[in-house]
């Protein structure tokens, strides 16, 4: 029997938006895609709604990224550059800058490591991550360990780089 989509919608929508946001880096676009995924689920009525949604969402995000790359090469998703005049202390870096740094750091990961990390962060279990990524279940721990280490290292490297620029 298919899951109750209304229940999945309530419990999973924010996680799906977050998951998509970290792929398309545009909050509204992420919401649109999440809603589109649920609209499709209403039509298809998949057995495992949640797993299905994340697969569909990942595909949509990939298509979306390709299209965006084709059509709007010039578009910078972070519209406002951080105010360089305020050489703000580390605590005060605004959300856009922080997001950009996370984005750059995530780009340092291999697609598979990144996918596993984002799925874990969306509340998926190892079993589900394995099913979705094609990794062996026994490899998920290692994959996540590597992804986490790489993310933190790249993020910290970005911080240092940023400070260099700000000071230089």
């Amino acid at each position: 029997m298919p899951d109750d989509i209304a229940e999945v919608y309530r419990s999973t929508y924010p996680a799906l938006v977050r998951f998509l946001y970290r792929k398309v880096w545009d909050a509204e676009r992420a919401e649109d895609l999440a809603q589109e995924a649920f609209a499709r689920a209403l039509v298809h009525r998949p057995e495992n709604t949640r797993g299905w949604l994340f697969v569909v969402a990942a595909n949509m995000a990939r298509d979306d990224a390709r299209r965006a790359a084709r059509e709007k090469r010039h578009l910078t998703l972070l519209k406002s550059e951080p105010d360089a005049v305020h050489s703000s202390p580390e605590e005060d870096i605004d959300a856009a800058t922080r997001t950009k740094r996370v984005r750059v750091a995530l780009d340092e990961l291999t697609p598979r490591d990144r996918e596993a990390l984002l799925l874990w962060d969306a509340g998926m279990s190892y079993d589900e991550i394995a099913a979705q990524t094609g990794l062996a279940r026994g490899a998920i721990g290692t994959t996540l360990a590597r992804a986490r280490r790489r993310l933190v290292e790249a993020y910290d490297a970005g911080l240092e780089g940023g400070q260099h620029v700000a000071r230089g």
Binding site: E7, P14, A30, A39, V43, L117, D121, Y126, I140, L151
Partner: protein
């Protein structure tokens, strides 16, 4: 045993190791300072990575009603479906309208059967119908008929009966708010009936109960306190909670239900309760999550549970093998947001 690799450490920290492996690992930690140090390091890394990722998140906005997605203009084959859905919802509305005016006439399929107390159920339906007309005064409605119901779980049935007709018509956000309000009324009504002489004990943490079973929730203040290890062994995995919040107590439900509640302190006056029990999140046929040895308890929901699950609005989600619900004296929005953050508590060192 040679030293534990980082993948296993992360699986352990994520609460994803089978219990046998977990026990062996913990035995190893006890005798191996190197691995203990590595564990501490990996735990810090894991938390850091979560924090880094968590700093890049979109502003959370409420989800639009699911119904709206259904009606959004799409490709052409969709439009046919849309008009059909539209016709179906009108038919449903008419049917419900008829039903509401004849509460006893046709039994609703989604109301859990209570063959032993047909009278009680019928009364509850009548109450539910009145409440739909005057939702602002559920409590006074209830108090006017104090002695009429002896059913042991009247509150459940009222909630179910009252929500069933709305299931497909109203926006989830609205229904969420409504159900919180009405459930709160139901709870105080239940309290007034159950304990006419004294006010609820001030220690009772939840003043809003957002669940289909408020009676059970209220009773949970008296559930036996257990320790963390027992909680874990009841659940078969690490209990979940809000990382970073102090845990006040672990309790277990009486009986063999397998429910554990984690009480966490949000601030000096606010306690959040996180109910959790083993569940099949995705596969109700019974083939999933079979790697947990030593469980004789059937892990598929009883049909009564499932009916309640479907028809009640609650703040629940699945966190790996656990069905998790959250309650606390907070707004629906806040509870929902907190629920999003629920994660396995880091294992004891």
């Amino acid at each position: 045993m040679s030293h534990v690799d980082e993948g296993t450490l992360h699986a352990y920290l994520d609460g994803e190791l089978p219990s046998g492996e977990r026990a062996a690992l913990e035995a190893h930690f006890a005798g191996c300072a190197t691995c203990r140090a590595n564990l501490t390091e990996e735990r810090a890394l894991r938390e850091r990575a979560t924090a880094v990722l968590g700093s890049a998140r979109p502003a959370e906005r409420p989800a639009p009603p699911l119904e709206q997605l259904r009606r959004e203009p799409q490709r052409s084959p969709w439009r046919v479906r849309r008009s059909f859905a539209w016709a179906a919802s009108i038919a449903l509305a008419l049917g419900l309208g008829y039903y509401m005016r004849n509460p006893g006439a046709s039994p609703m399929a989604s109301v859990p059967p209570a063959p032993a107390q047909p009278v009680a159920v019928a009364q509850n339906r009548a109450v539910a119908t009145e409440e739909d007309k005057t939702p602002a005064r559920p409590q006074s409605q209830r108090q006017r008929r104090p002695g009429e119901r002896q059913a042991s779980r009247p509150v459940d049935e009222v909630v179910v009966a009252q929500q069933a007709p709305r299931a497909d018509s109203a926006a989830p956000a609205l229904r969420l708010a409504d159900s919180v309000k009405l459930d709160a009324g139901a709870v105080s009504g239940a309290l007034a009936r159950a304990e006419p002489d004294r006010a609820p004990p001030p220690a009772a943490p939840a003043s809003i109960v957002v669940d289909g079973a408020p009676a059970r929730r209220l009773a949970s203040a008296a559930w036996p306190v257990i320790n963390r290890r027992l909680a874990r062994s009841i659940l078969g995995e690490e209990p979940v909670g809000l990382p970073g919040l102090a845990t006040r107590a672990y309790r277990r439900a009486p009986g063999t239900d397998g429910t554990v509640v984690v009480e966490q302190v949000l601030d000096s006056s606010t306690v959040i309760q996180i109910f959790q029990r083993p569940a099949y999140p995705y596969d109700s046929s019974g083939s999933g999550y079979t790697n947990d040895e030593g469980r004789s308890r059937p892990r598929v929901y009883a049909s009564e549970d499932r009916a309640r699950e479907r028809s009640s609005l609650r703040f629940g989600r699945f966190v790996r093998g656990l069905r998790v619900e959250i309650t606390g004296p907070l707004s629906a929005d806040s509870l929902n947001r907190l629920l999003e953050q629920v994660a396995p508590l880091p294992p004891l060192p």
